[in-house]
């Protein structure tokens, strides 16, 4: 006969993962539970002893340790421990000690295994590998968002219609009418591979109107003269939102989709709008219509509303970051256009660089401006610098008015040090890489995330190539970068309303950028530099890092999940502040985290912590990489 211990049953019913169990299973567990009281300071289980029970904290608080004695976790009522030993070794892996006077429920191994094997949701919840749980969380999030998981080929409705570049405009119009399409891909014969024509341009309805009819050209004009050459394309397996960002970035409405270099079809902006809530597109469009800095500053509420909506729709942090970076980039571009209109054309060509999070496309709403100017090598300070100082000031002041606060570290083009000819930049990067000291690189990390947003963006590419080429061969440089990437560490987790540090100290709040996303980006950058990657975005860097197989198996994906989750919490926090009319920041109060977020954040912190250990080990000075 089973006797109901009502207090035990009621407690289980109110706590995950038991709350999800069917009633009969719940009663069986409650009836199988034994109980034990531990005084504060008493050892509950020792490392290596036989695992007999799964422990659930009924009241009080328990500390879990690693074998080496460092604190691993701290649990209160509803917390549980011991699953690792029960499932894997049959021996206690993490010793536990009562931190406060505690009452523990003891679930015998057979009962635990019955639950674990018989109940998938339960097993998911207590799965021994923290990162596995985070993976499940992230895959659920991704499922919830089409744009995140859908690849661009799913939007391709029909095969691309192509036409040789020698055809006339009339033939093009006839072909488009026949096929019922609004755009054609114009191709040239490929002298090397006859059956793989080269894509030379794209021709749209609009081109026929604006470049042929309006100027009154002859209908026999070759299409090559009225098409848009130098087509921006997207690979078939990229995500829909990446295609959208490419359109935003290059200001095009049609994007040929290529599979193994062959045109698969064309994705039009209208196809994507059906997928996207068009928030960010709308905002970007608005920015380019602004005629003054005042008008730009008036766009800030739109930007914030767009951010809040994207976060609310559970858009992935990767995508939110990219969309916000696209908006930030548009602000810069428009400000530079306005600056040139006011100051006149530049005396020598230049490239305006975005640095840091904007270059990485990982911007949220609270962000400062990090930028620099690369100037033509003919730059003569005496004659030209006044112009560029004025230009930089115009942009920097404008950005500040649009919500991008001045960089406290002074990394802005207004600072003469960061307004240099290309040659000087090349020397600067070479110096950093070839003659590194931890001190010289301490504040330099931000420059290794650089993107050209205006002007000669090929110079930005040249600098990135230089970095990618040199960095991988300089182990001392990598060691210095790794050392700096370890300066900021994650906290251990949460306990009651506190943040718990690894040494057991408590703090009241956590700066989730400083303790989470920033050290992750730092760490990912070091690996990216080590493999010569030219990717900017941390998620894209991680993909290349995973392909390069320099991390232990599975760890790259773990980092991906951890970055996504921490970024998502950070974004949600800022969106909530904005919605509540509070100035958003990066400081998170544990009280405001759900139990689920606490658990998942802790998982993510653990992943970051162990990834930092690996980084330290891998890039030790003197170790051949």
């Amino acid at each position: 006969m089973q006797v109901e211990q009502l207090e035990i049953l009621d407690f289980l019913r109110a706590h995950p993962p038991f709350d999800g169990l069917p009633e009969d299973a719940l009663q069986r567990v409650a009836a199988a539970i034994d109980v034990r009281y531990y005084k504060a300071g008493e050892q509950i289980v020792e490392f290596g002893q036989a695992s007999e029970f799964w422990h659930v904290v009924r009241s009080g608080a328990v500390e879990i340790f690693r074998r080496n004695g460092t604190l691993y976790n701290r649990l209160t009522a509803g917390g549980y421990f011991g699953e690792f030993g029960l499932l894997r070794h049959g021996r206690v892996r993490f010793p536990a000690r009562a931190l406060e006077d505690s009452l523990l429920y003891l679930i015998p191994q057979p009962m635990f295994l019955e639950l674990f094997d018989g109940n998938e949701a339960f097993a998911d919840h207590v799965e021994v590998e923290d990162r596995t749980r985070l993976r499940q969380v992230m895959s659920r999030r991704e499922d919830a968002n089409d744009l995140m998981s859908a690849t661009v080929d799913t939007l391709v409705g029909r095969a691309a219609v192509t036409l040789g570049s020698g055809a006339s405009a009339r033939e093009a119009a006839q072909r488009m009418t026949q096929e019922g399409v609004s755009s054609l891909l114009i191709v040239d014969d490929n002298p090397d591979v006859p059956d793989l024509p080269l894509l030379s341009g794209i021709l749209t309805d609009r081109d026929l109107r604006t470049r042929l009819l309006a100027p009154g050209l002859d209908h026999d004009t070759p299409v090559a003269e009225i098409m848009t050459p130098g087509v921006v394309t997207v690979a078939h397996n990229r995500l829909v939102f990446e295609a959208m960002l490419a359109m935003l970035r290059h200001n095009v409405h049609h994007l040929p989709v290529l599979k193994h270099q062959r045109p698969l079809g064309i994705v039009a902006l209208s196809d994507i709008i059906r997928y996207e809530s068009r928030n960010s597109l709308f905002v970007v469009g608005g920015i380019f219509r602004c005629q003054t800095v005042d008008e730009l500053a008036a766009r800030v509420p739109d930007v914030r509303a767009c951010f809040i909506r994207m976060v609310g729709e559970e858009t992935s942090a990767h995508m939110v970051g990219s969309a916000m970076a696209a908006i930030g980039r548009s602000f810069k571009q428009r400000l530079l256009e306005l600056a040139e209109a006011e100051l006149g054309p530049p005396p020598v060509p230049y490239c305006f660089l975005a640095l840091g999070s904007m270059a990485r496309q990982e911007q949220l709403i609270v962000t400062d401006q990090d930028n620099a100017l690369v100037l033509d090598d003919r730059f003569d300070p005496a004659r030209h610098d006044a112009y560029f100082e004025a230009l930089a000031t115009f942009v920097s002041d404008g950005l500040a008015r649009c919500g991008y606060s001045y960089c406290t570290g002074g990394v802005m083009a207004t600072n003469r040090q960061w307004r240099q000819p290309l040659k000087a930049w090349e020397r600067c990067f070479s110096d950093w890489i070839e003659r590194p000291t931890p001190g010289s690189l301490l504040n330099a990390a931000i420059f290794f995330d650089l993107d050209g947003v205006w002007g000669r963006s090929e110079w930005a590419e040249r600098l990135r190539e230089l970095i990618a080429r040199k960095a991988r061969g300089h182990s001392r440089f990598l060691a210095c970068m790794a050392r700096n990437a370890l300066l900021r560490t994650p906290p251990l987790g949460f306990f009651k309303d506190f943040v718990v540090e690894s040494d057991g100290r408590h703090s009241h709040a956590i700066n989730i950028k400083r303790r989470g996303t920033a050290p992750l980006a730092d760490l990912i950058r070091v690996h990216a530099l080590a493999i010569g990657s030219q990717a900017l975005n941390s998620f894209e860097r991680l993909r290349e890092i995973i392909d390069a197989a320099i991390l232990p198996l599975g760890r790259g994906q773990d980092l991906y999940d951890a970055l996504e989750f921490i970024s998502a919490v950070r974004a949600r926090h800022q969106a909530e502040d904005l919605a509540a009319g509070v100035d958003p920041d990066n400081s998170i109060d544990p009280e405001k985290l759900s139990e689920f977020e606490r658990k998942s954040l802790r998982d993510a912190f653990l992943i970051l912590g162990s990834a930092q250990k690996f980084l330290k080990y891998r890039y030790q000075p003197g170790r051949a990489n």
């Binding site: 006797v3 211990q5 207090e7 109980v35 034990r36 531990y38 009080g60 006077d101």
Partner: protein
């Protein structure tokens, strides 16, 4: 109608639990004698399991937490309605082996009492007489030291109920968690107290209040099984804080 938990709570004017060593029988010898003289075979079997010697370390003593809910306070007049038992040792409370019985009193159960115990008339009417479950009860308790909160109640009611039914009573050693609390919070009045009288409000030694002092969670009272579990947890807490696993049984039992 009064209820036991009320008595356990306030215990106004109740005799102070005796604590002189002289008052404690030599339980192993007493059990051996009773095993020979008891007439009921169930009682004989119970005594035959013996009692742990007073010198035994607490960690080696098998115990069983017991709680009885009744229709009132007076063993001579009131009756048992439910019994909860939770076998235990210092290392582990075997709540998974808990036992619980509802038994039918001879007199009709009044509505107030029904409300307090959460036992319905239907349950009572379907319930057996104590005699029918006595064998099971004694089997669970046999060989174990009984742990109660307020020993006079459990001992008094069981003894009376057995005398009524079998014509012979029952004796057994108990560890009384209320008495262990009284030792700490109800010391015999010292000279000053005798001179000036007790001015401060006495610390409550009822079950819930005692548990709270050891940071044990608050439970709903008035269920024999919950109270038995609550008593078991309290004893573990008391031993952890004030005694040791090596403490001799004789230090705590009565």
């Amino acid at each position: 109608m009064l209820h036991l938990s009320h008595l356990k709570g306030t215990a106004p004017g109740r005799p102070r639990p005796g604590r002189g060593k002289a008052a404690r029988p030599d339980w192993p010898r007493r059990f051996a004698a009773l095993a020979a003289t008891a007439r009921d075979p169930r009682l004989r079997a119970f005594y035959a399991q013996g009692a742990a010697a007073g010198a035994t370390a607490l960690k080696d003593v098998p115990m069983a937490a017991l709680d009885i809910e009744t229709t009132g306070l007076n063993p001579a007049r009131d009756e048992i309605v439910s019994i909860g038992v939770v076998p235990m040792a210092l290392g582990r409370i075997r709540s998974s082996a808990s036992r619980y019985w509802v038994v039918r009193p001879a007199a009709e159960l009044k509505p107030e009492s029904v409300a307090i115990h959460a036992i319905t008339h239907g349950q009572i009417e379907a319930a057996p007489d104590l005699d029918a479950i006595l064998g099971e009860l004694l089997e669970v308790l046999a060989g174990r030291v009984v742990v109660v909160h307020c020993r006079d109640i459990e001992r008094g009611f069981l003894d009376t109920a057995l005398r009524t039914r079998l014509g012979e009573g029952i004796e057994f050693p108990v560890i009384d968690t209320m008495e262990l609390e009284a030792r700490l919070h109800r010391p015999p009045p010292g000279i000053l107290a005798r001179l000036f009288g007790r001015k401060t409000k006495p610390v409550s030694i009822r079950l819930a209040a005692s548990r709270a002092r050891y940071k044990l969670p608050r439970y709903r009272a008035h269920h024999a099984l919950t109270d038995a579990l609550a008593t078991a947890e309290l004893l573990q807490a008391q031993v952890a804080h004030r005694f040791s696993v090596e403490t001799a049984l004789a230090e705590v039992w009565g």
